[in-house]
């Protein structure tokens, strides 16, 4: 792989993509306000910003998915104004979204050539199409059966196929919207190799991500948006992390969003009994058997890469999947855990990672969402009166500062952070003894993020046991008494006390030693 020398010198005068004064309002609310972005030939350019900064609207506005109110877009000096994703593609601007926008039921080859299959007398030349597909994917180091349905392959392969299609359709600009969110480290490496390769050929790549490490690993320059406005455009190498975060957040904040408090001496006797004990808990082909003991007031962090089995562990703990190994004892008594209802009966609660699809019931009000689990536990025949519901909803709206403080608002209209708080309220209303939180701060703006972390700390001082899954190690370190590191669907390390620090966790994740025998 030998990327050609950077062509920036030759073409600095006419950037590949120049967006000037781009504005877009929705119902009078400006989502983009006079944004300028310049993408050079052969450049990997990060587009960064908090949720709501206007990244999605920006992509939609330049690819014609939404019409822009004002501003110009020029491609190699020529103005373009696509009115649909299709026209954008024809103009040379291709977008690959996080949820790969291909068809899992079609073959890889059909996906690569949909709408432009080689034909003869109106009939698709299947053999020719497959031959070209194989040749095309070879450039991406992808040697797969192009006659198999795309859905048979991993998300990483699907991303690469989507990029291959875009590149083959003579895209000059590739917009990658959170492409790495569901990839593991190895897959990210492959993707980066492809990106560098393409940039070397002169393509401009606009890379939207929330992983700052990746920004520094691969991008040349960075554009930061905030509240629909351009904050700045910088060379990546010349922009310190602190400065970048300051640009994104607009306020002084330590990099890890946590102040590493000297942990209170909660390590006072990890309670040899352990109120809730999972012993040899596991399910064949899902999560290897593990032990987990939790006393009240303890926070256990689950760390590991995506796909390491963290979410799977949470689902076993909550009875979403039934364990086929091991047992659960609560206060010394053996307990059956075959469904979420069992778990809830024993005082467990679970905030899943997929907040929109598995957490909130968007159409129902905040009040109804908050009382849902409590009501389900009481059974349909023991309804909470409207007055009781109002009281519960009001209490938690005040306690967790849910905004707007209107219990009758459909929860789908709230921001992600407030939805998450309402979900916490749903479980707190059941007065649980164990709360399992899967990525509680994902997709939440920074203000709410800090509040959620504060809540987690507060809850454990109030005697709740918590299992928290998070990709943000600094965050875990800031509140966990114990950290379990997972890899390949098994626990590979348990860190306690002094050992709970980012370096140790990283080492444990990266460690190449075989896991401890369970």
């Amino acid at each position: 792989m030998s990327p050609s020398p950077s062509p920036t010198a030759a073409t600095a005068a006419t950037p590949l993509l120049a967006v000037r004064g781009l504005s877009k309002s929705f119902a009078g609310f400006p989502a983009l306000d006079g944004v300028d972005v310049t993408l050079r030939h052969g450049e990997i350019h990060a587009l960064l910003g908090e949720n709501g900064a206007g990244k999605s609207t920006f992509i939609k506005a330049i690819t014609g998915v939404v019409t822009r109110d004002a501003g110009t877009v020029t491609l190699d000096g020529a103005p373009v104004a696509p009115r649909s994703a299709d026209e954008a593609l024809k103009a040379g601007i291709a977008t690959v979204y996080q949820e790969v926008n291909l068809l899992p039921n079609l073959t890889v080859a059909q996906n690569l050539f949909l709408g432009r299959q080689p034909t003869r007398f109106g009939l698709v030349r299947e053999v020719e199409m497959r031959r070209r597909s194989i040749a095309l994917l070879r450039d991406f180091d992808l040697d797969i059966d192009v006659g198999a349905p795309l859905g048979d392959y991993s998300v990483a392969v699907q991303h690469l196929v989507a990029i291959a299609r875009a590149v083959d359709m003579s895209a000059r600009i590739l917009i990658l919207d959170e492409p790495t969110a569901s990839l593991d480290a190895h897959e990210v490496e492959i993707l980066f190799r492809v990106m560098r390769n393409l940039a070397g050929k002169g393509l401009g790549i606009l890379f939207v991500t929330h992983f700052l490490d990746q920004v520094y690993a691969i991008t040349d320059r960075i554009t930061v948006l905030r509240n629909g406005r351009l904050v700045g455009e910088r060379e990546t190498a010349a922009l310190p992390r602190m400065e970048l975060i300051r640009m994104m957040l607009g306020r002084e904040l330590s990099e890890a969003a946590s102040e590493h408090p000297a942990k209170a001496a909660t390590e006072a006797a990890p309670d040899a009994g352990g109120a809730i004990r999972f012993e040899g808990f596991g399910k064949a082909g899902y999560v290897a058997p593990f032990d987990l003991a939790l006393a009240s007031g303890q926070v256990v962090g689950l760390a590991g890469l995506l796909g390491s089995g963290r979410t799977e562990t949470a689902r076993l703990l909550f009875g979403v999947e039934s364990a086929d190994h091991g047992r659960l004892t609560i206060d010394g008594e053996a307990v059956r855990l075959a469904s979420p209802r069992d778990a809830i009966r024993h005082g467990f609660g679970y905030c899943p990672e997929e907040r929109k699809t598995e957490g909130i019931v968007a159409e129902l009000t905040v009040r109804e969402n908050i009382v849902l689990a409590l009501q389900a536990r009481r059974g349909a025949l023991h309804p909470l009166s409207r007055r009781e519901q109002d009281a519960i909803a009001q209490r938690f709206i005040t306690m967790l500062d849910i905004r707007p403080p209107d219990p009758e608002r459909p929860i789908g209209l709230l921001s992600g952070g407030n939805q998450q708080k309402a979900l916490l309220a749903r479980w707190l209303a059941t007065e649980p003894r164990l709360l399992i939180l899967d990525e509680p701060t994902r997709g939440i703006d920074v203000g709410a993020h800090a509040e959620i972390i504060r809540l987690i700390r507060q809850l454990c001082t109030e005697g709740l046991a918590l299992v928290v899954i998070s990709s943000e190690l600094e965050e875990i370190v800031s509140y966990a008494d114990r950290v379990i590191v997972m890899r390949d669907r098994r626990q590979t390390a348990v860190l306690e006390g002094e050992a709970v620090n980012v370096t140790a966790i990283l080492q444990a994740i990266a460690a190449d030693t075989p896991p401890l025998a369970a």
Binding site: E358, E363, L364, E368, L372, H382
Partner: protein, 327 residues
């Protein structure tokens, strides 16, 4: 919040009143009511009486739709229940007849519920099976004939009167009342709405979504059987080929008119009945106006389209923008 209920039902009530007024305009005797043999008669009463079967069906359908489902088999279940009732009516005591017919409806509902909730088959497909086979089963029961009966007890379900009101009307009102008490008086309504709006989240919140789903199909089967009994009692016989034919569509239309989303979630039992009555009022109006009954289908088609257009997300998006006022 205080204005929630009226605002929610207002278009439906208005539509019903408008249809009634149109009927009055084309036929000035529309609101005339007379008492004869201890029973009220008149076009206006007829709207409620003739509308009873579809109203019963829509009481079942509305809960199924609330769970994001659909029950295409209700017409066929009507035919089965009617066939059973008519076949047994002259040889068995009334409780046995009712039990057998309603039991068949419950079984059909259970079958649908199991296909949807346990086997995970799409509702439209799952209930299609019984829609196709059910009419065959009904014909099997009647052996392909139109079975007639003379039992006066069963006939009362069609032509009888309680306090002057036709029995089908009383029956429908009672079922509505019982359903409202059982569903809104308990937390069932919330659990059904939650299940329909987001089944996965509801299951994780501890709701027995599977049981809830089976229950609404069983309820729908029960309502359909009741409608089948009323229809059979009305004509003193069972015609397996034509009993309840197309009525599943009327029931779905009633639920759509009631403002339920076919994507599940919020529902209103009373508005579903009102929707059914509106459809019947249109039917009656078309007859009164002297149009051929065939005209009904065209009118219904137009109404379906108009209601759906009004509910269309694209249009309502515009409506929301227009309606938005400074809060």
């Amino acid at each position: 919040m205080r204005f929630r209920l009226p605002r929610k039902g207002l278009p439906q009530i208005a539509a019903f009143v408008v249809v009634l007024l149109i009927n009055f305009a084309v036929s000035p005797q529309f609101f005339d009511i007379r008492l004869q043999d201890g029973r009220l008669f008149g076009s206006f009463i007829d709207v409620f009486n003739r509308g009873a079967p579809v109203a019963l069906l829509s009481l079942g359908m509305v809960l199924v739709v609330a769970t994001r489902g659909i029950d295409l088999s209700v017409g066929a279940v009507m035919a089965i229940a009617g066939a059973i009732a008519a076949t047994l009516a002259d040889t068995h005591a009334l409780p046995v007849v009712l039990l057998a017919a309603l039991g068949a409806g419950l079984l059909c509902g259970l079958w649908n519920g199991i296909l949807v909730a346990v086997l995970g088959i799409q509702p439209i497909i799952a209930t299609l099976i019984l829609m196709v086979a059910g009419r065959g089963i009904a014909q099997l029961i009647t052996e392909g004939r139109i079975v007639t009966f003379t039992s006066p007890e069963l006939a009362r379900f069609g032509g009888g009167a309680i306090l002057g009101l036709p029995v089908p009307v009383v029956l429908t009102a009672s079922v509505l009342a019982v359903a409202v008490i059982a569903i809104r008086g308990t937390a069932l309504g919330l659990l059904i709405e939650a299940t329909g709006a987001n089944a996965r989240a509801s299951a994780l919140a501890g709701i027995e979504t599977r049981t809830t789903t089976i229950a609404v199909y069983v309820w729908s089967g029960f309502c359909a059987a009741l409608a089948g009994i009323v229809a059979a009692a009305d004509i003193l016989g069972a015609d397996a080929n034509n009993a309840g034919l197309w009525l599943e569509l009327d029931a779905i239309l009633a639920v759509v008119i009631a403002g339920s989303s076919l994507l599940g979630g919020r529902f209103s039992l009373a508005l579903a009945v009102l929707g059914a009555l509106t459809i019947q009022a249109m039917n009656t109006g078309i007859l009164l106006a002297g149009f051929r009954p065939e005209f009904n289908l065209v009118v219904k088609a137009v109404v379906v389209l108009l209601v759906l257009l009004a509910q269309s997300p694209r249009l309502s998006g515009v409506a929301v923008l227009l309606a938005r006022r400074p809060a």
